[in-house]
């Protein structure tokens, strides 16, 4: 469920050249074509989608480099 919500956010804000549904969970999103600025839009949209605020230590590119990494970041914020 969480992964699907992440994929929906990526689909809308990630500006990926391929559908987010086609990406494996461990695929590197930057290698898949997500720009740094798009990753910021993804981060902001995730905050809205999950009603959370990412703390400074999670505001790094590595925290948003894959669906797994994003899910892990959300888990640390108590989102299961």
């Amino acid at each position: 469920m969480k992964d699907e919500r992440i994929r929906r956010v990526l689909e809308t804000h990630g500006r990926l050249p391929i559908p987010a549904s086609a990406l494996p969970n461990d695929a590197n999103l930057y290698s898949a074509g997500m720009t740094s600025h798009a990753s910021v839009n993804v981060m902001l949209a995730l905050e809205e989608e999950f009603d959370v605020e990412f703390p400074d230590e999670l505001l790094t590119r590595s925290a948003f480099e894959s669906i797994d990494a994003i899910a892990g970041s959300l888990t640390t914020l108590g989102i299961d």
Binding site: T35, A38, M43, L59, T60, S62
Partner: protein
């Protein structure tokens, strides 16, 4: 003599270069969104925000895009370890005369030192549609 040569070669080896291109429209869209305040706070330092304010009190998306590109270009110059740095770890500082330079926080400096990099030069350019930045880092 040999020692001097080795030192010079080592210095030559410690070079990092990064370049980045940002669409100004992407920044303008973020500024027009309901999350604009959060976007500005997350990405840009208070000094950067001040430097990008227009006379009417709005933010110039092209200048912000140039700073975004400069941060990204710096990370590229620093290599993979920069993936764990946040957006405020690199600040673009504008002198009264308009010259831009980079200020790295302690974490970014640590990453730079691990690669033997201490000095940074930045150049940015922006047009209505795109902003670009180049960063050169040396020992």
């Amino acid at each position: 003599m040999a020692l001097t040569l080795i030192t010079r070669l080592r210095r030559f080896r410690s070079v990092g270069v990064g370049v980045d291109l940002v669409e100004v429209a992407d920044v303008a869209a973020a500024l027009a969104s309901c999350r604009a305040a959060r976007y500005l706070e997350l990405i840009y330092t208070s000094g950067e925000r001040r430097d990008c304010e227009t006379l009417t009190g709005d933010f110039d998306p092209a200048r912000l895009a140039a700073r975004f590109a400069a941060k990204e270009a710096t990370w590229k110059a620093l290599g993979d370890r920069a993936m764990k740095l946040d957006w405020h770890s690199v600040e673009v500082v504008r002198s009264p005369g308009g010259e831009l330079s980079l200020r790295l926080d302690s974490r970014a400096k640590e990453v730079a030192r691990s690669r033997g990099l201490r000095r940074f030069a930045v150049s940015v350019s922006h047009e209505p549609f795109y902003a670009a930045a180049v960063v050169v880092a040396t020992a």
